[in-house]
C-alpha cells in the first residue's frame, strides 16, 4: 500500500501546519466571542484534548503497530461493525476535507481574488494536492519540511513588526467573569486539537516508532503555544473588538506600516496561509485516500487519488450555500463531531482492545 517511511520529526512537522493553518485565521475571533479578553487562555484548556488524543492514538498504535484505525477496528469490534465504523471515518474525513478546501477558497475570494470563480480556486488546490498525495507520504513530509520555515518565520516577523501597536492593558481584567467564558471559548479550538488523531494514519510509517508519542506531544504543545501567542497578539492590537473581525490576524497584518513604505503585509499573511493550508489539505487528502483504499482492501491507494479529488470538490459545495454555513458548522457541529469521532470512539476502541487482548491471553 504505502512503502514510504518518515521520521517522527517529519510527522511533527506535517502535523503542525495541519492544525495551525486554519486555527490561526478564523478561530481567534470565534474564541473571543465566548471568552472576550480571556481568549488567550482558551487554547491552554483546549490543548488537553490534544494531549489526550495523542495518547489514545499512540496506545492504539502500540496495540496494532502496523495498521490504521480502519484496519484494526475490524479486529476489535468484529468485521461488520468495523466496516461501519470505517465508513464513518471515511465519511468524516472526506466531508471535513471538503469543508477545509471550501474555507480556504472562501478566504481567498473574500480577501484577495474577489472576481475569481470560487470553483477555480478549489479545483486548482485539489489538483495541486492530488499530485503531492499521489507522490506518497515521503513527498508530503519533505514538502512540509521545505515549507515549514516559510510558514513559521513570517508569523514571528509579523509579531515583531506589530509590536509598536500593542496595548498591553487590553489583557485586563483577567478572568473577570470566572473560569467559564474561557472554558466555553476552548470548545471550538478543542475541535481543532482532536485532529491530532490523524497521527494514527501516519504512525505505522514511522521509522523511529518509540519517539512517536514524544513528538506528538511536542506538536500539541507547539500548537498550543502558537495559538496562545496569536490570540495574545490579536487581543493586544484589537482588544474588545476582536470578536467582530472575521480574520483577525489578517487585520493585524493590515495595521503594519513602517516608514511609510513597509505596508500591505497582509499579502504575506495570505502567502504563508496558502502554504500552511496546502500542507493541511494534503495531509487530510492523503488520510482520506489511504483510509478509502484500506476500507475497500485495495492493493494501492494511488488509483483512487484522482477520483477522490473530484469527490472532495463535490463535498466543497454540497449543502454549503455560503460562508455563514461553514461558520455554523465550525462552531455548532465540528467541535462535538470531531471530539466524538476522533477522541471518544478511539477511547472506546482502546478499552475494548485492552480487554480483548487480556481475555485472549487468559484462554491461551
Amino acid at each position: 500500500m504505502e512503502k514510504g517511511k518518515i521520521s517522527a520529526l517529519q510527522m511533527a512537522i506535517m502535523m503542525y501546519p495541519t492544525i495551525v493553518a486554519t486555527a490561526i485565521l478564523g478561530v481567534p475571533s470565534i474564541t473571543a466571542k465566548y471568552a472576550q479578553n480571556d481568549l488567550w487562555l482558551a487554547p491552554i484548556f483546549a490543548s488537553f484534548i490534544g494531549y489526550v488524543t495523542v495518547y489514545i492514538a499512540y496506545k492504539l498504535h502500540k496495540l496494532y503497530p502496523k495498521q490504521s484505525v480502519i484496519q484494526f477496528s475490524e479486529y476489535i469490534i468484529g468485521r461488520f461493525l468495523g466496516k461501519i465504523l470505517g465508513f464513518l471515518y471515511l465519511f468524516f474525513y472526506i466531508q471535513v476535507t471538503g469543508e477545509i478546501i471550501r474555507e480556504y477558497a472562501e478566504f481567498i475570494v473574500d480577501s484577495f481574488l474577489v472576481r475569481t470563480p470560487i470553483s477555480v480556486i478549489m479545483a486548482s488546490m485539489a489538483f495541486l494536492c492530488a499530485f503531492i498525495v499521489y507522490g506518497g507520504i515521503e513527498v508530503i513530509a519533505r514538502a512540509a519540511q521545505l515549507f515549514f520555515p516559510l510558514f513559521v518565520f513570517p508569523i514571528l516577523i509579523l509579531i515583531i513588526l506589530v509590536l509598536p501597536d500593542f496595548e498591553f492593558k487590553n489583557i485586563f481584567p483577567i478572568l473577570a467573569d470566572g473560569i467559564w467564558p474561557p472554558m466555553k471559548g476552548a470548545i471550538v479550538p478543542g475541535g481543532w486539537f482532536t485532529e491530532f488523531f490523524m497521527i494514527i494514519f501516519l504512525l505505522p510509517f514511522i521509522k523511529d516508532r518509540k519517539k512517536g508519542m514524544k513528538y506528538g506531544m511536542i506538536t500539541a504543545f507547539a500548537v498550543m503555544m502558537t495559538l496562545v501567542v496569536v490570540n495574545l497578539v490579536v487581543l493586544f492590537v484589537f482588544g474588545p473588538a476582536t470578536a467582530s473581525k472575521v480574520y483577525p490576524l489578517m487585520n493585524v497584518a493590515r495595521y503594519i506600516s513602517i516608514a511609510e513604505f513597509f505596508e500591505h503585509f497582509e499579502s504575506v499573511v495570505m502567502a504563508i496561509w496558502i502554504v500552511g493550508t496546502f500542507i493541511k489539505i494534503s495531509v487530510f487528502y492523503y488520510v482520506t485516500a489511504l483510509s478509502t483504499a484500506q476500507w475497500l482492501n485495495l492493493s494501492d491507494y494511488r488509483p483512487i487519488v484522482w477520483p477522490i479529488g473530484i469527490l472532495l470538490v463535490v463535498f466543497c459545495f454540497w449543502s454549503i450555500p455560503n460562508t455563514l454555513e461553514i461558520e455554523r458548522f465550525n462552531i455548532g457541529v465540528f467541535p462535538l463531531y470531531g471530539f466524538i469521532v476522533q477522541t471518544i470512539i478511539p477511547l472506546l476502541l482502546v478499552v475494548m482492545a485492552v480487554f480483548r487482548k487480556r481475555k485472549s491471553k487468559e484462554t491461551v
Partner: protein
C-alpha cells in the same frame, strides 16, 4: 441541472481516466471497480444543484442541534 458544471466535470473525468488507465492496467480488478465507482459517484453528484441541496452538512447540523443551540448562547 447545470450543464456547464456537468460538462466540465465530464471532461475532467475523461482526462483522469486517460491519465490513470495506462498505469493501473496491472492492478487487481477490485482497484478498477473502485476507481470507476468513485468517478461515477462524483459525476452523478455534479449533476445536482449541490449547494442548495440537503446534504452532509445539513444532516449533521440536525443531528447536533442541541449542541449548536448551546454554542449559540
Amino acid at each position: 441541472m447545470r450543464w456547464g458544471v456537468f460538462v466540465s466535470t465530464t471532461i475532467i473525468v475523461v482526462l483522469i481516466i486517460l491519465y490513470e488507465w495506462p498505469k493501473m492496467k496491472q492492478n487487481p480488478k477490485k482497484d478498477k471497480v473502485a476507481f470507476f465507482t468513485l468517478l461515477l459517484i462524483g459525476l452523478v453528484l455534479s449533476m445536482f444543484d449541490l449547494s442548495h441541496m440537503a446534504g452532509p452538512t445539513t444532516w449533521l447540523e440536525t443531528l447536533f442541534k442541541p449542541f449548536g443551540e448551546f454554542m449559540e448562547k
